[in-house]
């Protein structure tokens, strides 16, 4: 699995209220509508700035806060290719796997706003095309990789009706 896009950089502790505010998420299940408000409390122009496949890049503890799955779904529906961070909050991490949003755990200090990035999930590497730096990615455990590669937990259950791992 290969991904390519531009970096949009944020800091540490980006919580789920910033990703999609509670005042929007309770109103609708229309994720395309919610996507327009993604990250708006941190950057009101964010939705208009991103192109398909671009990356959200952040520091530690990305996705802390509530269990709202609207957070990864709003990111997916804003056509973000993956979230790259030094570390992720636990529930957000699960929700990404379950909804099929790739998450990349690696050192993000060497990635600057606007850098062009190329990710090879199978090789476990991230190439910063702007600076030439090659950054190692923390590999995902097999159970999570399987769910993610099947397109998320809904697809897994559609196929097997329950949890199924060999």
């Amino acid at each position: 699995m290969k991904l390519a896009g531009k970096c949009h950089k944020f800091g540490n502790d980006v919580n789920t209220d910033y990703i999609i505010s509670g005042r929007h998420k309770f109103k609708t299940l229309d994720m395309k509508e919610l996507a327009k408000h993604v990250m708006e409390d941190l950057d009101p122009e964010f939705y208009n700035k991103v192109s398909t496949g671009d990356f959200i890049v952040a520091g530690t503890n990305f996705g802390c806060g509530s269990s709202r799955e609207q957070a990864p779904l709003a990111i997916i529906n804003a056509d973000i290719g993956a979230v790259i961070a030094k570390s992720f909050a636990r529930i957000f991490y699960r929700n990404c796997i379950n909804t099929g949003l790739p998450l990349i755990e690696c050192d993000t200090d060497q990635i600057n706003p606007g850098d062009e990035l190329e990710i090879d999930l199978d090789q476990g590497t991230l190439l910063n095309k702007t600076t030439g730096a090659v950054i190692a990615i923390t590999p995902l455990p097999p159970v999570m990789l399987k769910i993610l590669s099947e397109g998320g937990l809904v697809e897994h259950f559609k196929k097997y009706g329950t949890f199924h791992f060999d």
């Binding site: 309770f26 509530s66 809904v154």
Partner: protein
């Protein structure tokens, strides 16, 4: 080698010898969803092409986040939940019944040793009664209600040993805020927190819930305590389910251990806009307050209301400030009425609202205006949390909130207790 509480519960429920960092598939004792997360789970349930839940008695859905509905979009989502609950015959709590994290233990759904998931991040609350309970998202919730199972990464454990006795006017809320300030918002990420020691044993079960509730604010998966006599008495009063408490082995392996003496702890305040931005109240300086909130799944229980009423009785809220009180459940509201606490709040000038989440998450019931300062007993003060990203939220104990709305500025409650 010995095991932690989390390792023991996940071993029992998965039928494997589970150790930290293993991935297991485990049987669930109870599954909960609220109105912010259930509608998406119902959608996922349908997309997964399921027709029946695994066991209706072991599932509850709660309408508490936007209750009663403030908008037609929300009303439609609530309708979908009501239809689903009726069709599937699951436990269902409608507007006015209370906050999910009060209802699940209060209604006897959870007992010591249980493995529980809830599609709400503060599901860690039930760790106070020795259950491994943790928050998940809507797709996990759907998978859980279909199969009665979920995959878990067995967490490492961060043990907190809390010695000494909390002083007068200092409460479990101050203790957990202090710990979060110490270890920071991601200090226990991916880990189970275990809280033990004299300062914990001293607390009532109500007060213990406050601590486990906020385990997630240090990133933890769950906030576990052992079951002592107080726990067992409390659980037997609320539930008829059989249970076997789970304790950690003496030679259990911990990823981290921290020990504190809490005897000289003063009331603590979390400042905007992160929960770990904590100071002792004497270091805070002058902070005028326009709105106070007493309630939420953190501090809306009987003991909290009694503490607040003790300070508010016979006093009036400052004319520059207002106070919103949301009891955590219908049962608590009734008990508080019988004890005269609700009358005390209303006499003092408070607005008492429907049992439920109240203004905690900005969906209704008291959105602050631009530039206003709020002091709340809730568990989060993120920017925009209460529905306005230009407001400033401070967190403290029910006593601190009560004292602060009386003076119109953040106040050490010990000044008004004497």
């Amino acid at each position: 080698m010995g095991k932690t509480i989390a390792e023991k519960i996940l071993s029992q429920k998965s039928g494997r010898d589970a150790k930290a960092n293993d991935i297991v598939i485990a049987d669930l004792d109870f599954v909960m969803g609220q109105d912010g997360t259930s509608p998406l789970a119902i959608k996922a349930f349908q997309e997964m092409q399921a027709s029946k839940v695994f066991d209706p008695a072991r599932i509850a859905m709660v309408i508490d986040h936007s209750a009663p509905s403030p908008l037609e979009g929300v009303s439609e989502l609530h309708r979908q939940m009501r239809v689903f609950a009726r069709e599937q015959q699951i436990n269902f709590y409608d507007i006015g019944d209370g906050v999910c994290h009060q209802l699940v233990p209060e209604q006897g759904h959870v007992v010591p040793g249980d493995l529980v998931i809830g599609a709400d991040s503060h599901t860690c609350t039930y760790g106070a009664i020795n259950a491994l309970s943790t928050g998940v998202g809507s797709t996990d919730l759907a998978a859980g209600i279909i199969s009665g199972k979920l995959w878990f990464k067995v967490p490492e454990t961060f043990k907190f040993i809390l010695n000494g006795k909390l002083g007068e006017g200092v409460y479990s809320k101050d203790l957990i805020l202090f710990l979060i300030g110490e270890v920071t918002a991601d200090g226990a990420t991916y880990m189970a927190a275990e809280y033990c020691g004299e300062a914990i044993s001293d607390l009532s079960v109500d007060a213990r819930f406050t601590i486990s509730n906020m385990a997630i604010e240090m990133g933890a998966k769950c906030g576990l305590m052992e079951a002592d006599d107080k726990t067992i008495e409390w659980v037997k009063k609320h539930s008829r389910k059989e249970f076997v408490p789970v304790s950690a082995d003496a030679d259990a392996v911990y990823a981290k251990v921290k020990e504190y003496d809490v005897s000289s702890l003063e009331p603590q305040i979390a400042r905007p806009h992160t929960v770990d931005n904590v100071v002792g109240i004497s270091q805070l300086g002058e902070v005028p307050i326009q709105q106070g909130v007493i309630g939420t799944c953190t501090n809306g229980r009987m003991e909290d209301l009694r503490i607040a009423a003790r300070i508010l009785k016979g006093r009036k809220i400052n004319k520059e400030a207002r106070l919103i009180v949301a009891p955590a459940s219908r049962q608590i509201m009734i008990e508080a009425m019988r004890e005269g606490l609700i009358e005390t709040f209303i006499q003092a000038g408070a607005a008492v609202v429907t049992p439920g989440c109240g203004p905690c998450v900005g969906t209704h019931n008291g959105v602050p205006s631009d530039g206003e300062n709020v002091i709340s007993t809730a568990n989060r003060n993120f920017k925009g949390r209460m529905g306005n990203n230009k407001a400033f939220i401070y967190l403290g104990s029910p006593a601190t909130v009560a004292a602060s709305v009386i003076n119109g500025r953040i106040t050490d409650p010990r000044q008004l207790l004497s």
